[in-house]
Amino acid sequence: MPAPKSGSILRRPSRGTAVASAALGLSLVLAGCGGSNVAGGGGGNAAASNPECAAFSQYGDLSGTRVTIYTSIVSPEDEPHINSYKPFEECTGAQIVYEGSKEFEAQLPVRVQAGSPPDIAYVPQPGLLKTLVTQNPGAVKPAPQAVVANVDQYYSETFKAAGSVDGTLYGAPLGSNVKSYVWYSPQAFAAKGYTVPKTWDEMVTLSNRITADGGKPWCAGIASGDATGWPLTDWLEDVMLRENGPEVYDQWVSHAIPFNDQRVVRALDRVGSILKNPQYVNGGLGDVASIATTTFQDGGLPLLDGTCYLHRQANFYAANFPEGTDISENGQAFAFELPPINPAQPQTILVGSEFVAAFSDRPEVQAFQAYLSSPEWANAKAKAGSELGQSGWLSANTGLDPNNLSNPIDKLSAEILQDESKTFRFDGSDLMPAAVGSASFWRGMTDWITGQNTSDTLTYIEESWPASS
């Protein structure tokens, strides 16, 4: 998905309307299922004869059962998802009912508390998963044995830990993303004779050179509805990792050191040395403050007109370039890893992921969970996305064959995620309590980019940290 934390500006007018239309949407889906149910039954019969169904025999015959899914992944990203369930539906006879909503994050807790949760929800943040597990004892079911086995076999420890609460695995990772990227235009670089920087200092040198050539090196945008500010949290997390290493990062994320520790101050000032430098930003978009009002979707587009040259954003940004953009190593847009700062620290990749949480332990739900955590699904989803020409999606499943991803940036990201020599850390704001990770951290970063100083900003966020956690 393009943005786990994205907030569309096209919000529903009110909760009531949203619920009503969601209900309407659901009932339409239900109505449509009358027909597909029959087809599903036919598929069940085909299961025995179809050799492609061999991998699904472990799930048994699930004819006549239904699994409901609730997620924030909406059109057009939902289409490859729905397509990727077809092998499962055809071979087991189970029926998957998909419901996507932009208001997912607010509505899911409401549905859980009201006692009418979906069978499965794709939770975009581990912090939200933790909140759901701890605030509603018993509502979220621990992952079944088959899922635990898959996660142990196919996912690295970082992802398993992020889907676990107090040592119990609740959610297997679904789609994942690589966040430590700097987007650039290989064609523009070639035309100007710039080269991809290998260290932070080289990157600053390059920025100065672009400035000397009369250009603005960087562009950025952090507006994202009521989630405005989140791209800056990723910036700070990346710099924290590169300056102080993963251990200090972990302490910071878990609040073992204060949010406004001197090391964090230094890291944010380093971010500021780029983003708050009027010489460096905001290519084609305005002054420093314009970063706050530029949507994150628009933030990197000036790369294509040569009004800026560098844009730090995750792999899913690929989906935001206009259709037909050549995203490849020698194309109009590509990305390199945000370079290291401190040679003593390992090059750490910031990652994010959504997780499959189940609110029911019926056999068909568990079977579907197992399918979603298997390499079969990751490959089916990759193929489904490639068929539709979509880019910006990948899985951290090591069973994923990168060749099923059509886009070079997706392939590169999949290879990075499967590279055992790399160190990974999960997006920190996603792990922090909601009062920080999806409130004061975002707001603080927004105030910071519009002029508030570093220490006031970090102190404001530190003071908002809930006493209980």
Partner: protein, 321 residues
């Protein structure tokens, strides 16, 4: 659930409804003697009262209770949530913004609607002029907010970049630098308020225009014979005659303004110091799962609405009397 299941459910629902109605009518019909009125009265109002109890009183009471509890509605925290609302700088800004909205919007929309209604009254193009100002009423708050977002949109004045925002394009034509309006705290609140005024002025105009037309023509004629015209006619005759309508318009808009949420959420998401109580209530309750704080904010909203409603009802009574 198959289609048959759903049809069955529907049938059951209709049957239950019919049964309840049957019992109500039966009880009302059976009542005899001195207490006929009382029994039939209770029979007819009981279902409505019951629904009111379940749908309104119970949640309202729960909200009151929750506003004194912590984020997870587990522990009692007394007035903590309320104290935070009035002391935490973020939330004080929210209260200030709500005050700005409530004071400015009703007054300006009513004034604009009134002046407009008087100006177009009995002119040749009255119908067209009225339709023009009434049109925004047909647009949802979210739609209106998106339209105005484009009006305020900012692009820098560099490297042949074209403005896409109407307001900034005017500024550039006049030879000034474009401005990033949405960031100009606290003035950006006024820019958001303009959207609401744009929508509500049509409503004010419609109601007030009808009231003006309802003024008996002999009063106007008498005034004119006495040599009263223009502004004096407006202040001495028109305005006093339509006073009840003005009160209704002002209070109705005030209540709508207190609940404003869509505009703020769509245009800024409450960023850059533009959040209002209703928006903050949503954020606290649903995004941050802080039910205590959310309920306390809902209570504040409720407390703010009460005096307006009371005033409105009293005015209506005066008019009727």
């Amino acid at each position: 659930m198959t289609l048959l299941d759903k049809l069955l459910q529907l049938l059951v629902a209709v049957a239950v409804f019919a049964a309840v109605m049957g019992v109500v009518l039966l009880v009302a019909n059976r009542a005899r003697g001195r207490r006929t009125d009382l029994v039939s009265g209770i029979a007819f109002t009981a279902p409505a009262l019951l629904l009111l109890l379940i749908g309104l009183l119970y949640p309202a009471t729960r909200t009151v209770v929750q506003s004194f509890l912590d984020a997870r509605s587990a522990g009692f925290v007394g007035l903590d949530n309320y104290i935070r609302i009035f002391t935490q700088p973020d939330l004080v800004v929210v209260l200030r913004n709500t005050l700005l909205w409530v004071v400015i919007t009703p007054i300006l929309s009513t004034a604009i609607g009134l002046v407009y209604a008087v100006l177009v009254d009995r002119t040749r193009f009255e119908a067209f002029a009225k339709a023009l100002i009434f049109l925004p009423m047909a647009i949802s708050f979210v739609g209106a907010a998106i339209i105005w977002k484009f009006v305020y949109e900012y692009r820098p004045n560099q490297q042949n970049i074209q403005q896409i925002g109407l307001l900034n394009q005017f500024i550039v034509w006049l030879g000034f630098e474009p401005m990033n309006f949405i960031l100009a705290t606290p003035w950006n609140n006024l820019l958001l308020i303009v959207v609401m005024i744009w929508i509500q002025a049509g409503f004010a105009m419609t109601v007030l225009s009808a009231a003006i037309k309802a003024i008996p023509s002999d009063i106007i004629e008498a005034a004119r014979l006495d040599g009263v015209g223009g502004l004096r006619l407006f202040f001495y005759i028109t305005l006093p005659s339509i006073r009840p309508a003005v009160v209704v318009v002002v209070t109705a808009i005030s209540i709508a303004v207190l609940k404003v949420f869509d505009i703020v959420r769509t245009m800024t998401g409450g960023q850059f110091g533009t959040s209002v109580v209703a928006n903050e209530f949503y954020v606290q309750s649903f995004r941050l799962s802080d039910l205590g704080m959310g309920s306390a904010l809902a209570m504040i909203l409720f407390i703010l609405v009460v005096p307006i409603v009371v005033y409105n009802v009293r005015q209506m009574r005066k008019v009727d009397a």
